[in-house]
């Protein structure tokens, strides 16, 4: 059931006719065949589909870390294909939050230091940055583990540190690739509940790439992909929202 809203929600991501190929000449393989996809702010959108269908490729394009040949991709109205070099890097730093399947935390930094990295990269002082990170980690239930190194934390705890890192600088768009794939079912549920809780905001878009159907229930909207095309987009009001 589609709720009636007074104004249409802001568009977090708009993709139109995005084409992407890998390789050159004889080895050229087209992976995305003209992707049209709108992702509204204020919702958690899941991108699902069989392995190799192009989910990660599309997410990388939306995140501004992969170029593409044809079409347009805009984040909150900014066409990312028009950004180059240092401008693109700054855009990512200010606008995006990243969550990876393998967490990608810095092994030498504590939980709070890791979560503070986007602020440090933006030039925020260390003390301020770490304090902001610690508030967020406490909210994610890691108040007792602030000083621990990644190898002293469970996978689920590490992914929660990664969630804090993805949100600490208040990004407008959060991109997650298989955030629960390395976790057991219980940890996966916890992580998704916390992610939904912490990340969702009216003016923020959240995209989660997954093929873990146990977490589909956390989505507001599911976009299905197959062989480089979007085959279906469905509104699925998240059941877990209390």
């Amino acid at each position: 059931m589609i709720p009636h809203t007074l104004s249409p929600p802001a568009l977090a991501v708009r993709c139109a006719g995005v084409v992407k190929s890998f390789g050159t000449d004889e080895t050229l393989v087209r992976v995305l065949h003209g992707i049209d996809l709108d992702i509204p702010a204020g919702e958690l959108t899941m991108l699902v589909g069989p392995s190799g269908c192009g989910k990660t490729t599309l997410l990388s394009i939306i995140a501004g870390i992969l170029s593409f040949e044809e079409g347009e991709a805009s984040i909150f109205g900014t066409p990312i294909h028009s950004l180059k070099g240092a401008d693109l890097v700054r855009f990512r730093r200010q606008t995006l939050g990243f969550i990876f399947q393998q967490y990608n935390l810095l092994p030498a930094l504590s939980a709070s230091e890791n979560a503070a990295v986007p602020l440090l990269a933006a030039g925020v002082g260390r003390v301020t940055a770490i304090r902001r990170a610690e508030e967020l980690l406490a909210q994610l239930g890691l108040g007792a583990h602030l000083k621990k190194l990644p190898n002293q934390l469970s996978g689920g705890q590490q992914q929660r540190v990664a969630i804090a890192r993805a949100l600490v600088h208040n990004p407008k768009l959060v991109v997650c690739d298989e955030p629960t794939a390395a976790l057991d079912a219980q940890s996966g549920q916890t992580v998704m509940a916390l992610l939904r809780d912490a990340a969702l905001a009216p003016d923020r878009g959240v995209i989660v790439v997954t093929h873990d159907n146990r977490i589909y229930s956390y989505a507001d909207r599911i976009a299905e992909m197959s062989d480089g095309r979007i085959t279906r987009v469905a509104r699925t009001p998240a059941q877990k929202v209390a």
Binding site: V89, R93, P118, A121, V124
Partner: protein, 381 residues
């Protein structure tokens, strides 16, 4: 800058590699600084018997002489010819040769015998541990250096009055000296010129050198050229003769090549260890660097981070290496074979340059990988 702090945490966090890197730089530094210092010290020693005659600044010798340790005998009349040259304050004879010393009941030892002018005692030892230079005037008196005494009588306390035989004549030790260390291990024996002729076999014409001093206000170089022009002998200032001797050892012995090989090996092994380890350190952190790139850390900042990591390794490793090298020379200052060696500041700077070269190569080899790193790898397994 906050990311500088992150870079240092990354470096210190990988304990094993950090120690490996610092050790590599330290090892290379130690090997290069210490070996070069010993080489320089050793080469300087070849001329110590020239510079020890501090009173003189001009040496006159047979034209065939190439370096101090192989004098050609000159007739005694050459002394008067030199003395008659203008611009000379004084000129005295000197005997220098190798001869055998037999201690009673002991073995035969080869020694450097230095015969110095009977009247002036020019060229007498400057540092006396026992006895006095003036006692050389006593009959059959000799002064032997400490290293020589310990060489002939190992483990025995320094003592005057001991008798030795040279050329079937008895000599009495009246003093023990501490001259600048010679290049070889031969003991150094000082005696009067006339005694020296008695303590060695041969005829009358056995003067090795005429050592002289230019008059005040006369440049030694000019006086030396003047002596050459008027006598046909070879004349050198102390400095010229010193470098001529060092040059001879540099060109005629395998010593420079040997040290050169060691120092080059130190450089190559150090560069290999450091370059390799630093490269591995950076490559193992590639996922981390990729994540930072995706998150929005610029290439410039990442380059700065790698540069900082490399610089810290170079500084700490160099500091330890130079410190250890200096410590080596302090610790061995009293070892007879190593006495007088130290680390000249030029070598510290040269070694710093070599370490810089190692680090620059290591940093740039790995930096390239970071610069071209595609942030899209972060979403790939």
């Amino acid at each position: 800058m906050a990311m500088a702090w992150v870079a240092l945490q990354m470096l210190y966090g990988d304990r094993a590699k950090y120690f490996g890197l610092v050790f590599g730089v330290m090892f290379a530094t130690l090997l290069m600084a210490q070996q070069t210092s010993i080489f320089v010290g050793l080469m300087a020693r070849t001329a110590n018997q020239i510079t020890d005659v501090r009173e003189a600044n001009v040496w006159v010798m047979d034209p065939r002489v190439r370096y101090v340790d192989e004098p050609e005998p000159m007739p005694a009349t050459d002394l008067d010819r030199v003395r008659s040259v203008d611009g000379i304050a004084w000129a005295v004879p000197m005997y220098k040769g190798l001869t055998n010393v037999r201690a009673p009941g002991g073995v035969l030892n080869q020694v450097f015998l230095l015969g110095i002018d009977d009247a002036s005692l020019v060229g007498a030892p400057k540092t006396m541990l026992l006895g006095s230079v003036e006692d050389l005037r006593l009959p059959d008196a000799i002064i032997i250096d400490r290293a020589g005494f310990e060489f002939i009588w190992p483990g025995e306390a320094l003592e005057l009055g001991r008798r030795v035989e040279m050329n079937d004549r008895t000599a009495v030790i009246v003093g023990i000296s501490e001259p600048a260390p010679p290049f070889t291990t031969f003991p150094i024996v000082h005696t009067r010129y006339t005694n020296a002729l008695r303590f060695t076999p041969g005829g009358r014409n056995r003067m090795s050198y005429v050592v002289a001093r230019a008059e005040d206000g006369q440049a030694p170089e000019a006086v030396a050229r003047h002596i050459e022009a008027t006598t046909g002998l070879q004349a050198r200032t102390t400095t010229e003769f010193q470098w001529q001797t060092i040059q001879y050892y540099l060109q005629r012995t395998g010593i420079p090549v040997n040290f050169g090989i060691t120092v080059t090996l130190g450089f190559i092994v150090g560069a290999a260890i450091v370059g390799q380890t630093f490269y591995i350190f950076v490559v193992e952190n590639m996922k981390q660097f990729g994540a930072l790139k995706a998150i929005g850390v610029t290439n410039t900042t990442l380059a700065g981070m790698v540069l900082l990591q490399g610089s810290v390794v170079a500084l700490v490793g160099y500091g330890l290496g130079v410190g250890l090298s200096a410590g080596f020379f302090v610790a061995t200052a009293n070892v007879t074979a190593l006495r007088g060696f130290y680390m000249p500041w030029q070598i510290m700077i040269g070694t710093a340059g070599a370490v810089l070269a190692i680090m620059v190569v290591s940093i740039f080899a790995s930096l390239r990988r970071v610069m071209v790193l595609d942030p899209a790898i972060v979403f790939r397994g």
